[in-house]
Assembly symmetry: C2
């Protein structure tokens, strides 16, 4: 495989990324929330690109774009490549879009070579991965994998617009969503390329990584109730300082989260009341976010954190209430898909670095339907959900090349 | 001394407190900021009470109420009793007011007995102790002690009203403030009773305490700059978590502040950015408030805190900027005044518990002019600056009784 090939594939992928990045609901940003006008225009752009690549394509009842490049045996289970084209507010251009574009360029390459694989290659551009606008959870991918929750249709955005009404305006069809569900066995593998959203590949000088699992997540709110007081007049031994208690807890969460390579634990919110220079903190609200690819490890970690927090609170005479706000199990990647990615990466002369996905992806929902695998692409500074999101054209080329190889392997060609 | 005496003195003091508490700028609260209409009405009430007690009284150029109960020798240096009648927003009834009322009842008692002391007894109700409305610092007390800063007159409140204009509306006279300064030697002692604003006396079951010193204060803002990141995708060893750094610092500030009995150190503000459950903290702003009656101890404590914070930040790759925002030296009480209070408390059959004042008071400004001393009164839960501020009538009675004895001693009677 020539270097020219990588450069050409990368340039093509980057051009498609730009074509989608033009669609935004907020000028000067990339903001493309699920079912917005910009999402509709982006979906039409993707459909047109799919058709130009030689696929049969349509925008489905839930707002996803589906394209199919037929295989030698139309009845054989397909290989599906997907990711999403919705974005967070003031997003970067690559999160989600790169995975859709990778699928597009794979089919372009197959079509250019006049090549049919033994089975169809499908490409899907999901519309609701960021779960920013409505209180949903990967709804468009669950529509395909058969676990769409109809209550999601009643959810409203911050302007009070129901998802069902936004979907009708978009041109979707709430009543037809249930028919989107694919039957088990109809998809032999789901493949998703995505920017890493973390710093590991960059730190190790690697363009690509093979995801071993998507971490499970526990989130909790922890409210501490101490006693506010005058910072000058309450002697140290008589204090019940909620922030001093929180500080001990934050330090221990960091220590517990750092004990294993396959865990992270984060306190991202620390709100102090009353929060004045001369007042001892009476109350503190913390959030916990704890992740691991191993559910038993995560549950044990969270249990330990909770035990330690309770002990600190009790010792200090500080009240503690714990509310678990999210409990999401881990999604292991299917070994055959991960191995296909690994072999394809090694064919490029690169080491097949296995790594954990700490963030959730459409693959979590698709794992219900088919064996899933993910390919991570190095991104600058590990930054995502930010206009500064950045990858190189060369890395995009490596990504597409590895995806072509993996699809070919999994199609049994 | 009979128990009846204490009860009667306490009841009288509490009635005067109520008379002043009626004056508020916000219905349903006690809010009486310097130079407000409620402050004016409260000052007039105090002047009337002074006159009823047999004093010559007036509201001075800076808005303080001054009353004089003449002594046997009008040229002898006076004993002065004072505190303040301004309040914070949504205040309690006792902070400041109790000290003024104690002075009033002392004179009522002397007058009722037809008794003149060798020197005059003065009572002063200062107007600007809380320093809430204008960017001043004990301005009305400094007017008497001769350190009024004329730049204070140019300071504005949150509505943009200049202190000079508010003073004119109140009926004061900016140009005459400099003439309020008393000459050194004209006041033989300044005595101030005040609620403790802390929990020590309540915890020890004591109505009264004798202040040994008013603590010096250092305040600083500390800004930490780490690196924000995705809580799921940045491995623990690659993080520069500003909140984890802050947590270590908060724990160490508590430990360093607790090492001696005569120090306190408080982190009351901890603002996290961006402050989201799934984002590693990129920045944290902390405040430090560190106090001690011994300036050398305070300076050493703050230097140690700063060294430790720098070391934590450096080890974690987190940027730190430190800005000292207040540096206020300690005010030791004059031994002869503290001893007079102690002897008077012991005459009541109570132990003379010496304790530190962590909060600032008018006595800080008056120490420039005269030997000062303070008497602390037990308050419920150590609560102040809050409608829940509470003392018992009996404790108010003990306060007045001890004040009478101390004034008599210091007047040389």
């Amino acid at each position: 495989m020539a270097v020219n090939d990588i450069a050409a594939l990368g340039a093509r992928a980057m051009a498609h990324v730009e074509a989608i990045a033009r669609h935004t609901d907020v000028a000067g940003q990339i903001t493309r929330l699920y079912l917005s006008p910009a999402h509709r225009r982006a979906a039409e752009t993707v459909r047109a690109l799919m058709e130009q690549a030689g696929m049969a394509a349509f925008i489905d009842a839930a707002g996803s774009v589906q394209g199919r490049y037929e295989g030698a045996d139309p009845s054989a289970p397909s290989v599906m490549i997907g990711s999403h084209i919705d974005s967070v507010v003031d997003a970067g251009r690559y999160d989600g879009v790169l995975g859709v574009v990778a699928g597009l360029v794979v089919v372009e390459e197959l079509a250019r070579a006049g090549r049919r694989l033994p089975c169809a290659v499908e490409v899907v551009a999901f519309g609701d991965e960021e779960n920013v606008r409505f209180p949903t959870n990967l709804s468009t991918a669950y529509a395909l994998s058969g676990a769409y929750d109809p209550r999601w249709l009643e959810g409203t955005d911050r302007d009070g617009v129901r998802l069902a009404d936004a979907l009708a305006d978009f041109g979707g069809d709430a009543a037809a969503i249930s028919k989107l569900a694919r039957s088990r066995g109809s998809v032999r593998a789901y493949l998703e390329a995505h920017i890493e959203q973390g710093p590991v590949l960059e730190a190790e000088g690697l363009p690509l990584g093979v995801v071993s699992a998507i971490a499970g997540i526990t989130r909790a709110r922890v409210a501490l109730r101490g006693e506010a007081g005058h910072a000058g007049t309450v002697p140290m031994p008589m204090r019940r300082d909620a922030l001093a208690a929180a500080a001990e807890m934050i330090a221990l969460v960091e220590r517990i989260g750092s004990r294993r390579e396959d865990t992270v634990a984060t306190i991202g919110v620390c709100e102090v009341s009353p929060g004045a220079v001369n007042v001892i903190a009476g109350g503190v609200n913390l959030t916990l976010d704890a992740r691991s690819p191993d559910d038993a490890v995560r549950r044990a970690m969270v249990a330990e954190i909770r035990t330690v927090m309770d002990a600190i609170a009790a010792r200090r005479g500080v009240g503690l209430t714990w509310q678990t706000t999210m409990e999401s199990p881990a999604t292991p990647m299917a070994p055959e898909v991960a191995d296909a990615f690994a072999a394809s990466v090694e064919d490029l002369g690169l080491p097949a670095r296995r790594l954990l996905s700490g963030a959730g992806h459409d693959a979590v929902a698709m794992a219900r339907l088919a064996p899933v695998g993910m390919l991570f692409v190095r991104c600058k500074g590990g930054i995502s959900h930010n206009p500064a999101e950045s990858i190189t054209a060369e890395d995009a080329g490596y990504c597409v090349r590895a995806m072509i190889e993996a699809v070919t392997r999994l199609a049994g060609a």
